[in-house]
Symmetry: C2
Subunit: 196 residues, 2 copies
């Protein structure tokens, strides 16, 4: 009998070498602070965090695929199936359980193909201790997560756009990242993108 | 019978919330990369990493003191005694065991007072996967550690200078941070410094 994805993801997380979550969050905070000193607008800070997250996401998903032998990895997944891989990889690298919601109303009419989902995180490891100052209320502080998801899915051959749809830092109940499929990449496209 | 500092430090580490050590190292790498794009010289990058580490060190030691009730914290420590607190705090926040060497030859003649020690780390959690590019061979990539130690000791009323004396990234066998005492601070000086 095969083990559940959640069980496997938890086992991967347990086996990972660990750092202190507070030091990690403080270091991420130092990174955002540095970008804030350097760049002019919240949008520019987010672009940079997104770019960094993209590189990190590619590294993470490669390691995830190497270590996990994921049960559904027999050939190409559908976009909907990648949501399960993503949940496992996020558990492995962020240490938190995430949920994904398929956006039923976004289904391509008739085909039943999912072209969007959202990732719900009850906890956000990047945002421990964080309170956004008055003049940065607009900033999506955790934009690196969007970049990470974008990088991960790119390596699974899906070009997506990601954005924070809800954020606890802005008073929402949960953190929610909206993931919209732009196009299915041909085999190997991910490798080229890696060089960016 | 009281438990050993190493036992207590390990218990503190076990109780800390955890992050993925690889994601932490990649995030620190993104921070150094950002500084590299922004600043001109290795010295300027190090200054900035040191400053960030100082703020983080103050946060860390405050939490350490709040959570640890360290056995030696009955009144003011000597400089030599702070080395033991530092070892425990670094175990709690970096997850690695460090050793300290008192520099016998640096003792103030006659008084027997230690005014220097070095911190030896066999592992460096900041430097997983890191290889310095040709044009950054001079950079002390892990300078944030020096800043952290400086911040921690400042809160224990010791103004110190810290520098990387050995680094595995530069081919040395271990990572060694040299800690030199500048002056003993008066009570409360640490609080003022915190506002910098």
């Amino acid at each position: 009998m095969s083990k559940s994805p959640a069980f496997l993801a938890n086992a991967l997380w347990q086996k990972q070498p660990k750092a202190n979550a507070e030091l990690f969050a403080l270091t991420y905070g130092a990174l955002v602070g540095e970008l804030w000193r350097d760049l002019e607008t919240p949008a520019a800070i987010q672009d940079e965090l997104d770019r960094m997250g993209h590189s990190i996401g590619i590294r993470c998903i490669e390691e995830f695929l190497a270590k996990s032998d994921p049960p559904s990895r027999t050939g190409q997944q559908t976009f909907a199936e990648t949501a399960d891989l993503l949940k496992m990889a996020m558990r492995m690298f962020l240490g938190v359980s995430v949920e994904t919601n398929m956006a039923a109303n976004e289904n391509t009419a008739g085909s039943g193909e999912v072209s969007s989902f959202s990732v719900i995180m009850q906890e956000n490891p990047l945002a421990l201790f964080v309170e956004l100052p008055e003049d940065l209320q607009e900033l999506e502080y955790s934009q690196m997560l969007c970049g990470m998801i974008r990088g991960m899915l790119e390596m699974l051959q899906f070009d997506v756009s990601c954005r924070m749809a809800q954020s606890q830092l802005k008073g929402d109940d949960v953190n929610e990242i909206q993931v919209d499929l732009n196009q299915v990449l041909k085999d190997g496209a991910g490798e080229d993108y890696q060089e960016e």
